[in-house]
Symmetry: C2
Subunit: 468 residues, 2 copies
């Protein structure tokens, strides 16, 4: 019986540790391809852990392709391809190098979509915060209105008018500690019995939130213009999530024609709403951002969400949503007892930061930075051998692009090969619930954390994926 | 038909404005006692507002006693007593004076339980924040671990050891933007199909949160020692909320005997938990705080919650919970994708604030302040005429006490009379779901916002309640 010493897990959760151990034994050939794993229940009982822990472990190994499931027979170690097995035996890399959680093992990390924190305007932010605190204003210590500090809502309304073409009142805005928090509020506001529609492929975390909240949801396929309306109409969903300015992860922009059809769908039935997640619309390089969907809809069926995590820093937890008047009235009647989740000091500081023009200046610097980075990545690509075997799909926006690769490998094998050679990457198919085949062989390249040298080396690594 | 011009409502919500208008007409005698109000549906249709809006308006007027409901006949203006009606006609106070939302109309507000913000250590907090920001540490800009910044969890664990007798690891702690946020997380963690038990009387906001989350809950009566275990056992609930260090609003402390029985109840069945809300345990004047319930239970069935809202300021949104290991493991497996909702800067600042001893020093100052305030309130009471007709129930802790009044008035009439004369107060019965009669005639006096002069005047106002 497979046995691992759980006392050796240090800071890892049990699930994470078991996953590591089993994966390592598979890579080392200790668990031979085709051999059968213990049942989940047997393994759980043997290690005296919960069944759920082992379920999660097997699920992860299954998702990554290390094991496969045969109905009613159990779980078996997958064959990972002859070449791979050979290189496994040859290069016995120490266990820690395979830790998916640690980034020291990779020289290039395509998955890191951290905001470019080296650009954070520390001096300016500190100056503004100092100014706020030195006022020693007792008002700033009192319970914050449930919608958030008025000064910040005012600054945001002004910003939305100037940059997103939206005419909204500060009274339509609710400030919250992160977009996920606001999604939770929306579930309570719109109701748990409605069906929510998500784009496929799309941002998977939203599905997790709906799942944990016991809310029904459906995936709707997208095409190059965004969510497909006939699929949406057939789904029976009443609320749909979209990111029309910059779809994640494809980067597609929803053209005006599709926007109009989507708005028509919403207006076609009472209580239908569109949640517009505008998370990184500020980073459009060559043109002005496309006006928000909300600005086309006269404040009725579009709930607009945005965040400062991508523009400032993910550690400053400030997001906001703009509600149609009718929904705001409902919020006030049913949910206004919830205190605002963002500290007053930071709200006043952000309001002052925006009112003094620092935010606009900072966005400008970040755009320049991302654009220059994007340009240098393209140059590296143009000079690499890989350019014969790959096509870059880049939308002149955000901080990632797609790379379609001409390779016979499956996405799981591709990931594994890259990881084996120090490159961490995600494939587009991982963001698909179903229909993975049509989105296969496409890598998502987040470049905000890459440099030219490591990107070039990573492209060389990928050569072994196309020439094998 | 009653008609109001809704365009005049300015910043008020429609529900708030209608409530004001109708109440004023009642006070002015425009709506005579005994006259019938339009049905809710008629009023809603006439003003083209939602039925829910008018339901809320009528509910508020009913709760405050301005109208009464007769089954199947409708709503009627209440009689408010001969004296009151006469004084209403005589002293035509301008509309704004009756605005329950505005505190300028009251010379004494017994309901305000704002933390004593004049004590906020602005200079020290600013100094600590300056130090944090000047480090310009890029780590502070990255996504915060879902549990919160480690340094703060460490400081909190140390604090809990020294001041609440709890031995917990930083890894058991989750930091969140306010206690309400953490309640929501707990609902997801513990499950929506469990029944939650709340103390009656108790903190009503928790019930609202359960209601909005579609979670079943029950009220369990308390006695002078806290929640009654036989009632709890019969309720079928598996999770119970208690504040054993200082019950809200009675102020009772749960003695060790009841604590043991409560812990036995929890241990008696798998998946039973006690949520211990320790919200203001720091403010015990003469003795050390009673050790937390959690410290008696060896980390198994007690979920401990606390906040910095009462000790620092309600506008700094930092609360935390300590989970038993098994629940933390479940949290990691099912909910660790939620980002932490508190800004990194403020977490690091608070950790430094605690590590430098500033927090302990601040608590000490606040205790001194509250104790001195309590003492002066008692002195004013002892010298007032009201002392023959009232008994103070004070528990040497927190920032409020109870006052039992020897009065023939109902609690609604008492509130109205006080309000009419510039005193805003809440009665204990308002915190009761059922069983209001046994808790009648008891006023809750929050004194952190009172001064001796206004308290004395307020006691004189209450004389008219006892001698009428």
């Amino acid at each position: 019986m497979l046995t691992y010493d759980l006392t050796q897990r240090a800071q890892l959760s049990i699930y994470e540790y078991l996953y590591q151990c089993i994966k390592q034994d598979i890579l080392d050939g200790v668990l031979a391809a085709g051999s059968r794993l213990p049942s989940k229940r047997e393994l759980a009982r043997h290690h005296q852990v919960s069944l759920k822990t082992v379920e999660n472990t097997y699920e992860q190994l299954l998702t990554e392709g290390y094991i496969r499931a045969e109905e009613r027979r159990g779980y078996f170690v997958a064959s990972l391809g002859t070449d791979s097995r050979q290189s496994r035996h040859q290069s016995h890399v120490p266990f820690s190098a395979y830790d998916p959680g640690s980034d020291t093992a990779y020289f290039a990390d395509f998955t890191s979509n951290q905001t470019a924190i080296e650009l954070f305007p520390y001096d300016t932010w500190a100056k503004v915060m100092r100014g706020i605190l030195s006022q020693q204003d007792p008002e700033m210590l009192k319970t914050v209105p449930f919608q958030g500090v008025y000064a910040l809502r005012q600054s945001i309304a002004k910003y939305l008018y100037g940059f997103r073409g939206m005419t909204v009142s500060p009274d339509q805005i609710i400030i919250g500690a992160g977009t996920e928090y606001l999604y939770g509020r929306l579930i309570q506001l719109l109701g748990r019995s409605r069906t929510y529609a998500l784009e496929n492929p799309g941002y998977r975390k939203i599905a997790k939130i709906y799942q944990v909240n016991d809310v029904p949801w459906k995936y709707i396929d997208i095409d190059e213009n965004g969510i497909q309306i006939d699929g949406l109409a057939k789904s029976g969903a009443d609320i749909v999530h979209v990111s029309p300015a910059h779809h994640f992860p494809t980067g597609n922009i929803m053209p005006i024609g599709r926007r109009r059809v989507l708005l028509d769908w919403a207006e076609d039935k009472a209580e239908r709403y569109i949640i517009e997640d505008d998370y990184d619309s500020e980073f459009r390089f060559s043109h002005r951002p496309v006006p928000a969907l909300q600005s086309l809809n006269h404040n009725h069926r579009v709930i607009y969400l945005n965040t400062f995590s991508k523009t400032l820093a993910p550690s400053i937890r400030i997001s906001y949503m703009v509600l149609p008047n009718k929904l705001m009235e409902r919020y006030i009647q049913t949910m206004n007892f919830y205190s605002c989740t963002v500290s007053a000091f930071e709200q006043y500081a952000l309001a002052a930061f925006m009112d003094n023009g620092y935010f606009e200046r900072h966005i400008h610097r970040m755009k320049k930075y991302y654009r220059a980075k994007r340009d240098s990545m393209m140059k590296v690509f143009e000079h690499s051998r890989l350019r014969q075997y790959a096509v870059i799909d880049e939308k002149d926006a955000g901080s990632h692009f797609l790379m379609h690769l001409d390779t016979p490998l499956s996405d799981t094998e591709l990931k594994w090969l890259a990881r084996e050679h120090g490159v961490s990457l995600d494939c587009l198919s991982e963001y698909c619930a179903g229909g993975k085949e049509q989105h296969a062989h496409t890598i998502i390249v987040n470049y905000s954390d890459l440099d030219e040298e490591s990107f070039g080396r990573a492209l060389d690594v990928l050569m072994s994926a196309v020439t094998c």
